[in-house]
């Protein structure tokens, strides 16, 4: 009896230890092949054994199944496991007409289990990277530069540069036309780990300045052209109950958040916004203006406006959804948005950046390869060639229309000239055209693998938007540099520096605008602290990257 008890205790302990070691060995590398095997699915079960041998080489074992051109892409049906983010304005992907049609065309099934909602997406993405169990392809997965370089160099993302010329003729054509795309997507080790969305349409790359025409008429003012005139106009907006609901819910000027406000007006003060951050490029030299006197003047002006109650006080705390509601509700006199898909632009006019504070105004604009990391292939994927052909369709004319407009007959039609149009009721949907289109394609919200050009831009570039863009075009910098892909260690250092710089800068500028800090002693402390944190080193990293680009 005693023995039995002792035995039971021992067994329990043994089991516990077993669990321990079980947990311990799980994350190690020997499972690398498994997710790909699982994903290959039922139809290719017989071929998985060959696949393991071929995996280390450049070509997947499944290459023979892939047709060089035309549809279907594969003769024998395969399944690709997709990882991606279902944007806030998008429906569930497996209900979308475009995917249903494309699956039929290509003979490639899509498994959308890992397409996750935006809420909590970043957490889940981080956990996915750490898990060592990966999907086949990343579609609209919001991969950022540091992830691309980090997981590319770890061998999790497959290098694509050899696949592109052979299996992605459309992408290759875009690159040939604008080689700047290549410098945007090539990692410092020379590989391309992810594809960008390409915008040959400039209107899709910047935020327009939207001025409320009907408010202007009601107070009897002209469209402001200079900063001083703007001041006047904003003052005249204050306190007027334009919508007549008896509540003070109108804001002379509104914007999504304080840093964006600072950036928009930095352009008015003559500063560029290069590499996707607070940097300028002049005569081959990279510099920042975060501690400039001109920048201080800009903040002083914003503080003055804020003090007079001309800026929506919620810009420091609001969620984007709240800003969107204010746009849709026409509660702002002046605000900033890329297009007029979130509000009815009949009452609004897109205006030029205000003159008077600098010789030349600049507009923050994204480069042609606007969103990087919109598509990648996992190194474990057995069907890399098929995946490459699969994505390339969207970089061509027909595919770009499927992505932008959805399925012919269901959501769109072609007119006599062969131009694509959305079905009636989509662009003027009461929910906003973005939400409506998000029900059947994945581009609303940005970050999708797509090619946006003058022929397929009906939704984002309404006439009003294109007109608003005309006002901004003279303010675009001659050269637009994208955030460079940096080596792991440099990018780590940059991320540490920038985390500190940005949080401190955001906090201080917010306080300066709200009048909680002054522009004398506190400003000097700010400049001093920014330098102490490492502003110069931060700039020098970009300078080095710029020098490499020049070569």
């Amino acid at each position: 009896m005693k023995r039995k008890k002792a035995l039971a205790v021992l067994l329990t302990l043994g089991m516990a230890l077993g669990m321990l070691s079980g947990c311990g060995s799980e994350p190690s590398a020997d499972k690398a092949g498994e997710p790909a095997d699982a994903a290959a699915g039922k139809d290719t079960a017989g071929e998985t054994q060959e696949a393991e041998g071929g995996e280390s080489g450049g070509q997947s074992a499944q290459a023979g199944n892939v047709n060089a051109e035309g549809f279907p892409i594969v003769n024998e049906q395969i399944t690709l496991r997709v990882f991606g983010q279902q944007g806030p304005v998008q429906a569930k992907w497996d209900t979308m007409g475009m995917w249903k049609k494309y699956q039929e065309m290509t003979n490639i099934n899509l498994d959308f289990t890992d397409v996750l909602p935006a809420e909590g997406y970043d957490e889940k993405k981080s956990l996915m990277w750490a898990s060592n169990e990966y999907p086949d392809i990343f579609v609209r997965a919001q991969l950022n530069n540091s992830e691309i370089v980090k997981y590319g160099s770890m061998g999790i993302l497959a290098p694509l540069e050899d696949l592109i010329p052979v299996y992605a003729p459309n992408m290759q054509k875009l690159i040939d036309e604008d080689p700047a795309i290549l410098s945007r997507i090539t990692a410092p080790d020379g590989h391309i780990y992810a594809l960008p969305a390409v915008f040959t349409l400039t209107a899709a790359r910047d935020d327009k300045f939207w001025m409320n025409k009907s408010w202007l008429e009601q107070v009897g003012k002209e469209v402001p052209e200079t900063v001083d005139e703007l001041e006047e106009v904003l003052r005249s907006f204050k306190g007027v109950d334009f919508n007549g609901n008896g509540e003070a819910d109108e804001y002379p000027m509104g914007i999504s958040d304080a840093p964006t406000l600072i950036r928009r007006f930095a352009g008015v003060w003559g500063y560029q916004y290069q590499f996707g951050t607070y940097l300028e490029v002049k005569d081959g030299k990279v510099s920042t203006y975060l501690t400039d006197d001109g920048f201080k003047e800009e903040l002083q002006w914003l503080a003055k406006m804020y003090g007079e109650g001309l800026i929506d006080p919620e810009i420091f705390t609001q969620e984007y959804a709240k800003y969107a509601a204010k746009m849709a509700g026409q509660q702002m006199g002046l605000f900033f948005n890329q297009a007029d898909d979130t509000f009815d632009s009949a009452n609004f006019v897109g205006i030029a950046p205000f003159k008077g504070k600098a010789d030349r105004q600049y507009v923050e604009s994204a480069p042609a390869a606007r969103d990087n990391g919109v598509f990648a292939i996992c190194a474990d994927c057995e069907n890399k060639e098929a995946a490459m052909r699969w994505i390339d369709y969207f970089y061509g004319y027909e595919g770009s229309i499927l992505m932008r407009y959805g399925v012919e007959g269901e959501n769109m039609y072609f007119d006599e000239e062969g131009k694509p149009h959305y079905n009636d009721g989509i662009l003027d949907s009461p929910e906003g055209s973005g939400t409506e289109i998000g029900k059947y394609t994945i581009w609303p919200g940005g970050g999708a693998p797509q090619w946006v050009n003058n022929d397929n831009c009906e939704a984002i570039a309404s006439e009003a938007t294109l007109k608003a863009q005309e006002a901004l075009d003279p303010c675009l910098p001659d050269q637009i540099y994208a955030a460079p892909l940096l080596e792991q260690e440099v990018s780590d250092r940059l991320s540490v520096l920038w985390t500190d710089l940005e949080s401190y800068m955001k906090e201080t500028t917010a306080k300066l605008i709200r009048g909680e800090l002054n522009f004398e002693g506190d400003w000097d402390t700010y400049v001093e602290t920014m330098n102490k944190i490492g502003l110069e080193e931060w700039v020098s990293i970009y300078q080095a990257a710029y020098d490499v680009l020049g070569e």
């Binding site: 009896m1 005693k2 008890k5 002792a6 205790v9 329990t12 516990a16 669990m19 321990l20 947990c23 311990g24 994350p27 190690s28 590398a29 690398a32 970043d122 957490e123 993405k125 981080s126 956990l127 990277w129 750490a130 898990s131 060592n132 540091s146 992830e147 980090k150 770890m154 061998g155 999790i156 304080a258 420091f316 705390t317 991320s495 540490v496 985390t499 500190d500 949080s503 401190y504 955001k506 906090e507 917010a510 306080k511 709200r514 909680e516 102490k532 944190i533």
Partner: protein
């Protein structure tokens, strides 16, 4: 063996918490090695390259580290200094109350906030403290006080955090003291009464000494958690404006480890935090042993 046999029920019950500890507290310790490695999921835990103290150096050379450590420490310290005595007081008051019905009502009212989830509580705080339409600022406005942005300033963050903590947890924490007070021999009170001790004297000389061991044990445990204050609340109440006093170690870990995927860095932060905790609990225990003659070990 005989001992084991006679106490098998106890051992059986003990086995479950033991298993829980092994699975959820000891097994994960295996992952602590990531604090010294540059984690690469392809290579796994044991084969990721060692980087020594790189992550620790990175933390101590970052601009916010002092703030983060100080915020973590000070928020806890304030909660203990202000929040720790209140449940004791509450328990004594409840213990002294005569009316049974009133006692129950009071107890229930003070317990209820404990059952509100953190997310809901933070939502309530945002509503109550809003400068535009919050009840607190409306109330202050009646006395001609300008609206205060409690959550939009680093000045009030810790106050809001600690005050809401006290409101939420005092009633719940008083339960254990009420139980301890109930365990005091009524004969002691009667004897004190006969000796002419008034109510205050009875509380001071009978009630308090009776629950001192409970108080000390709870205090030590509380100090042991000083560096591990609730992540959710600080994170939900955090915004750019109060970052200076709301960035605590656990929110840093979340941002670095979960959002940015710097697994090694986050593990190093967590490890450092745990070591500080351990140090504090050992010191607190020593202190209490010396001054109150009660301690955990």
């Amino acid at each position: 063996m005989k001992k084991i046999k006679s106490k098998w029920q106890l051992l059986f019950m003990f086995a479950f918490p033991l298993l829980w500890y092994i699975i959820f507290c000891y097994v994960p310790m295996y992952g602590l090695q990531l604090a010294f490695r540059d984690y690469n999921p392809r290579l796994g835990y044991l084969r990721s390259p060692l980087v020594g103290l790189r992550w620790f150096q990175q933390f101590f050379s970052s601009y916010y580290w002092k703030d983060a450590v100080w915020n973590t420490f000070s928020i806890s310290l304030y909660s203990i200094l202000i929040g720790f005595p209140i449940p004791i007081l509450l328990a004594i008051i409840i213990n002294e109350l005569q009316g049974k019905r009133f006692k129950k009502v009071l107890q229930n009212i003070t317990y209820i906030p404990h059952f509100i989830s953190t997310v809901v509580l933070c939502g309530m705080l945002y509503l109550f403290l809003s400068p535009q339409y919050g009840i607190v600022n409306t109330f202050l406005g009646m006395f001609g006080i300008e609206p205060v942005g409690f959550l939009e300033s680093s000045k009030y963050f810790k106050g809001v955090y600690v005050a809401s903590e006290i409101w939420q947890e005092s009633g719940w924490s008083s339960i254990i003291y009420i139980a301890a007070l109930a365990g005091i021999d009524p004969a002691l009170y009667e004897a004190a009464k006969i000796d002419g001790a008034g109510r205050v004297k009875r509380i001071w000389h009978v009630s308090l000494p009776g629950i001192i061991p409970t108080i000390v044990t709870l205090l030590i445990l509380k100090i042991g958690q000083i560096m591990s204050i609730g992540f959710e609340k600080a994170y939900i109440l955090q915004n750019d404006l109060n970052l200076k006093s709301s960035e605590i170690i656990s929110t840093l870990i979340y941002k670095q480890g979960i959002l940015q995927g710097n697994v090694g860095y986050a593990t190093a932060l967590g490890l450092m935090n745990s070591c500080l905790n351990l140090l504090l609990i050992v010191l607190a225990n020593k202190f209490c042993k010396k001054f109150f003659e009660t301690s955990l070990w």
